[in-house]
Amino acid sequence: MSARFGVVVFPGSNCEQDVVYALRFLGYDAAYIWHQDIDLSAYDALVLPGGFSHGDYLRCGAIARFAPAMEAVRRFAELGGPVIGICNGFQILTEAQLLPGALLRNRGLKFICETVPLRVELSVCQWLDLPAGAVVRIPINHNEGNYVCDPETLAGMEVRGQIVLRYCEPDGSRAPEGSAPNGALDDIAGICNESGTVFGLMPHPERVVDGIAGLTDGAAFFAAIARRIEEMVA
């Protein structure tokens, strides 16, 4: 039985079709969930896609986090269900305080759209099918990706293995002045919760699964979830 992913669509989401396409390309079952839906019992895993939910008004994700579906997402997450937030989805997860910290406007004030190298860190994240130290290339596409949190939160996340992905140089090293094109604290590109079941990241793995754009590094971001679900069902 293949894993059934639910992709939550908010007014202003615009990457939900990419996510569903990528999941179906990889052989998984995927369906859309409207932000007003509250019954998520049909799904094994949830994805909050990128976009500009509610116009990014006030703050990115600030309004979407109060959508009826988000209460169901919270309950799903509390039960250990896999949740991935990509770009605006990551912003929504931080606003909902399902993940620590916040995402500020890019330090250089520019919208950034480019494919960047990312280093996989040693973390408790359960949904990444890649070894620590691996370097992948994934597109980023955002105006508010400058991750911040207070020093105590950062230290705690480091100790608990919640930092999943860092921006890096092509060889996997980190530049002394920082490798994050958006100015993110400690080059952070993706984090997870303490149990490793809620994962948020600014890059868009769904855009690089089928090789059409020349890369397939994104597949590993969905494969671990699917395998875990298939193991649980079996």
């Binding site: 006030l58 309004i63 606003e95 916040a102 500020l104 250089g108 207070d150």
Partner: protein, 83 residues
Amino acid sequence: MMRYEVYVTGKPGIFDPAGKTTAGALSNLGYAGVAQVRIGKFIQLSCDDSVSLEQLTEMCEKLLANPIIEDYRIEEVLEGAEG
């Protein structure tokens, strides 16, 4: 009707590139004395009398500001204060 004004600003230490850029522009215009510029948000609310200050505080904590990165200040606009 009651009128309230909410000011939302980045917490101290949260880098504000727009403020920094604007400070640079003021300096370029010859205003050498401007030490710092911080740019935030200004939100006006018109409320009926049932809305309490406690509720406004709750609105700020829940939605209007993100307490992780922002501070906020609520000001009541007195009757007749506007022209």
